[in-house]
């Protein structure tokens, strides 16, 4: 699964060499550029073209014939609109839960002492490196009709609840998959926080709650927001979790694209849905990123 770990280090360039020496950096980046041009840029371009290609159920893709029909179809058909809406609200809910749980968790962890602090941080983050299929399978065992969670619910008198193959299972498992990203984002901004300011607020008579709300929270907000962006983006495009825990009925955007490609064999329509997802993701990420950066640059100087 796609993971965005810590924020990328910003490379600091050396003083500019003479223009004649541009050949050296270009040569050094050429192999990687060649790979990315043939296996990233060209395929994306081809897929964009494909999404405009005419598709015929009997003969397949008609190269050279173009139409906007697939886009019109995706934006007008209730089936696709319902799936986009479901994907949106599930991703939104997962993001909110991750903020509500991940941010305080990062804060609690940051106030622990070593070795607990280091060990528990790793426990929270390490599932990130375990295949998402394994984690989905674990949740299907926990949330199944005979699973541990239903056993507990039965023990306290709430009869068995159908969770597997419903939105509940998808949301729970997505929260589990996304939680490390939120903790990483908040943790990173907590590391920049000056403990002295917090102590100053306390020593000047602010209550712990007021300190948290007025001093800590404003400073970790950029971390919370960038974590939310990552969580929302990854949730909206998640495939294995809805595929394994949503069952055949409960589709999200990624599972629909998979169906179009490998069952319906309508590649142009699948490409259209995938590109709409990509465009929506990029718009949300880039615009929110700009808002966040602008606002916090002003607010924090």
């Amino acid at each position: 699964m796609s993971v965005d770990l810590a924020a990328p280090p910003m490379p600091s360039p050396m003083p500019a060499p003479a223009p004649a020496r541009h050949a050296v950096p270009w040569l050094l980046t050429a192999p990687a550029f060649l790979l990315f041009a043939t296996l990233l840029l060209a395929p994306l371009l081809l897929t964009a073209v494909l999404s405009f290609n005419v598709y015929d159920t009997a003969t397949g893709v008609k190269a050279g014939q173009y139409t906007l029909l697939h886009y019109a179809h995706v934006f007008s058909d209730d089936y696709y609109l319902a799936i986009f809406w479901r994907t949106f609200w599930i991703s939104m809910l997962v993001t909110l839960i991750c903020v509500a749980v991940g941010a305080p968790e990062a804060y609690v962890l940051s106030r622990m002492r070593n070795p607990w602090r280091a060990v528990l941080l790793l426990v929270v983050l390490a599932p990130l490196l375990v295949s998402v299929v394994v984690r989905a399978f674990g949740w299907s065992m926990l949330l199944g009709p005979e699973g541990l969670v239903n056993g507990l619910l039965r023990a306290i008198g709430i009869g068995p609840v159908k969770m597997l193959y419903t939105e509940i299972a998808v949301v729970v498992a997505l929260v589990h998959v996304m939680m490390p990203f939120m903790v990483i984002a908040v943790w990173t901004s907590l590391q920049k926080l000056d403990a002295g300011v917090e102590n100053a607020a306390l020593s000047l008579g602010a209550s712990p709650f007021a300190t948290l709300r007025r001093v800590v929270l404003p400073q970790v907000m950029p971390g919370v927001l960038s974590g939310s962006l990552i969580v929302f983006g990854l949730s909206a495009s998640s495939f294995a979790i809805p595929g394994l825990l949503g069952g055949r009925r409960l589709k999200m955007v990624a599972t629909v694209v998979y169906d179009e490609y490998l069952h319906e064999l309508n590649w142009p329509l699948g490409a259209t849905v995938a590109l709409v997802l990509l465009a929506a993701n990029l718009v949300v990420m880039l615009s929110l990123n700009r808002v966040v950066e602008g606002r916090y640059k002003k607010a924090l100087g």
Partner: protein, 264 residues
């Protein structure tokens, strides 16, 4: 700094339990002696692990995944080291674009990459070829490798290099004897992170693998959509064990906290 109160600690325990629960349950159920997914209480059995090793599909997928991860992590490292040197040490037209391009697979959903690669493979006739699969995986693991190599090169003290150059060493010798050893933790850490990410990848791979090149996570995904039995738990437990071993190694070489939260 103040200590955490009891409520904070209880909350922390719940979150830790939540994060570990699915992994623990998989590992425990894998030892069941029964034919159903039950938690073994009285006796433990290794029968499902034996079943995995006797299962030719899972085994061939495992070897596929292993070869694929070895090849793509290595290729990604070979591409990322010179690219990172160019990006950190030179200011040239297109530098920001290339940096963004090489990191972009982190932002583009793997689903979209899978769809795009499938289109490309179909056009060049590369569907089902191991070589094209390696290239596809290299694209998605390069950003991880590149980031750690970039981190190693930023804040790099170049005085040792300059001393070697002024003493008459050639560019190649300086790179081999000074630069590479100094950025080695970043390079090996990046390689391992690339390895783990390639080994675990499912969303893109499911579009571009053919029956002969199916990777282990894809095989598991397909198996789990058909049937759920303790065999799946045993494979999952083995996956967790492999990942844990890789993490331990990564921690030794580079420091897991540095990889995960970017602390240097």
């Amino acid at each position: 700094m103040r200590n955490n109160g009891p409520i904070a600690l209880a909350f922390n325990a719940l979150v830790i339990g939540f994060m570990l629960a699915p992994l623990l349950v998989v590992c425990v159920v894998a030892f069941t002696p029964h034919n159903t997914l039950t938690i073994p209480t009285t006796e433990f059995s290794l029968r499902w692990f034996r079943a995995v090793f006797a299962h030719s599909d899972f085994m061939s997928s495992f070897w596929n995944s292993l070869r694929l991860a070895l090849c793509s992590a290595t290729l990604a490292t070979v591409l990322a080291v010179p690219a990172a040197i160019a990006i950190t040490r030179h200011r040239f037209p297109g530098r920001d674009f290339l940096n963004a391009l090489f990191l972009s697979p982190l932002i583009i959903p793997h689903l979209v990459l899978g769809v795009a690669m499938l289109r490309m493979f179909a056009l060049v006739g590369g569907t089902g070829s191991f070589g094209w699969l390696v290239l596809a995986h290299t694209v998605i693991v390069t950003p991880y490798t590149l980031r750690l190599v970039l981190a190693a090169l930023v804040g790099f003290d170049r005085s040792a290099e300059q001393a070697a150059l002024s003493l008459g060493a050639g560019q190649a010798t300086v790179f081999r004897r000074i630069t590479l050893p100094m950025i080695l933790p970043g390079v090996t850490g990046g390689w391992m992170l690339g390895f783990i990410n390639s080994f675990d990848e499912v969303t893109m791979s499911i579009f571009v693998t053919a029956p002969s090149t199916v990777t282990l996570p894809v095989r598991m995904y397909m198996y789990a959509t058909e049937s759920i039995d303790p065999l799946m738990a045993a494979v999952s437990a083995l996956m967790i064990a492999v990942t844990a071993a890789a993490m331990l190694l990564l921690d030794r070489v580079y420091g897991l906290d540095r990889v995960l939260v970017g602390r240097t």
